[in-house]
């Protein structure tokens, strides 16, 4: 039962946070959202957050473990595929499949 309440709490918080970002401009006037500081943050924050999320995946050493060397190699593969073909699904699936094969062969 604790698991139920814990996960319900997590889902409620994440649902509220996600909805907040989508609803914000509809709740505030566009006058506020036009502020140059918000434009500045809106321009540079998303790319920074994406890079940080890539780095964040190297932090794991718990249940969903990622290994350093094969991960760097497979990330390079994902990047190369995506720069070449720009097919998000292809890049993600090819990189993940390669990584899974490497890890399951014991190279991880």
């Amino acid at each position: 039962m604790t698991e139920f309440w814990y996960l319900s709490g997590v889902i409620a918080v994440l649902a509220a946070a996600t909805f907040a970002t989508r609803a914000l401009p509809f709740l505030l006037l566009s006058r506020v959202a036009d502020h140059p500081l918000l434009e500045h943050l809106g321009r540079f924050l998303p790319p920074i957050v994406m890079v940080l999320l890539v780095v964040y995946s190297f932090k794991n050493d718990a249940a969903l473990s990622i290994d350093f060397v094969p991960e760097l190699g497979c990330l390079a593969l994902v990047a190369a595929l995506h720069l070449l073909f720009r097919q998000a699904l292809l890049s993600i699936i090819a990189g993940t499949a390669t990584y899974m094969v490497l890890v399951q062969m014991g190279l991880g």
């Binding site: 994440l14 996600t18 914000l24 401009p25 809106g42 790319p47 890079v51 993600i92």
Partner: protein
């Protein structure tokens, strides 16, 4: 099958999202099942949260046993781009009341692209068209999430390493951001801040600390730019 012109148009335009959401949702589901929770929680996440990158991030946060505050802030930041979707969609919102709020709730990257890129077919009401596209996309996502989580918990296949979909997805999004921005500096700054925080400050709260550091750098840069703009009597860009 006897489809109304409205439903036929909705099915036709949403087909690419079907092919994207089923495998991506299933990957989320399989990843989620690694945590050992019941598959119905994956369905609940697709139903109540409904965010691609956000749900993948949630799995990582759950695996790292992050605190609720860290989860909320990380989710707000990863979804912060949606604020700018909403801004550009305000003038195109054709629905009112609960329909409007459901459409805002369902404003994922894919739905946003579909709504902004697909012309409303002639003779079809724009509000109903957009509402049904939003709803059918969420159905695809729910099927993907549930099937992946259920299969992940039933099948005895080795999913070791599947967690890599997460960094792979973020790598793809990073490149998309670069193609959009065409400025390498924020990417290098983020790499330095991220690795620096990881190595020097804290492994445990890396994401939160690195985001707050980046935010302060951006604010100082903004203040400095405004200051020099005032000094030189002109606007800098």
């Amino acid at each position: 099958m006897n489809l109304s012109p409205l439903n036929a148009a909705v099915l036709r335009s949403s087909l690419p999202v079907l092919f994207g959401y089923l495998p991506l949702g299933a990957a989320f589901g399989v990843l989620f099942s690694e945590l050992g929770y019941h598959w119905l929680y994956a369905t609940a996440m697709g139903l109540f949260i409904y965010a691609g990158a956000g749900q993948f991030l949630a799995v990582g946060l759950l695996a790292n046993q992050a605190g609720l505050m860290e989860m909320a802030i990380a989710t707000l930041l990863i979804n912060s781009r949606h604020v700018f979707y909403g801004l550009s969609l305000m003038s195109r919102m054709h629905n009112r009341g609960w329909r409007k709020w459901y459409q805002i709730f369902g404003l994922t990257d894919e739905t946003y692209s579909l709504i902004t890129a697909t012309p409303v077919p002639p003779g079809i009401d724009a509000g109903r068209f957009h509402l049904r596209i939003t709803a059918i996309n969420q159905c695809y996502w729910l099927i993907g999430c549930s099937a992946g989580a259920w299969l992940g918990s039933q099948l005895e296949f080795s999913s070791d390493g599947i967690a890599f979909v997460l960094p792979a997805l973020f790598m793809v999004l990073t490149i998309e951001q670069y193609k959009h921005l065409r400025d390498i500096r924020p990417f290098i700054a983020a790499l330095v801040i991220g690795l620096g925080t990881l190595v020097l400050i804290s492994r445990e709260h890396m994401l939160l600390i690195a985001i707050l550091l980046s935010l302060s750098v951006l604010m100082m840069q903004y203040a400095a730019r405004r200051h020099s703009g005032i000094q030189h009597g002109g606007r800098h860009d």
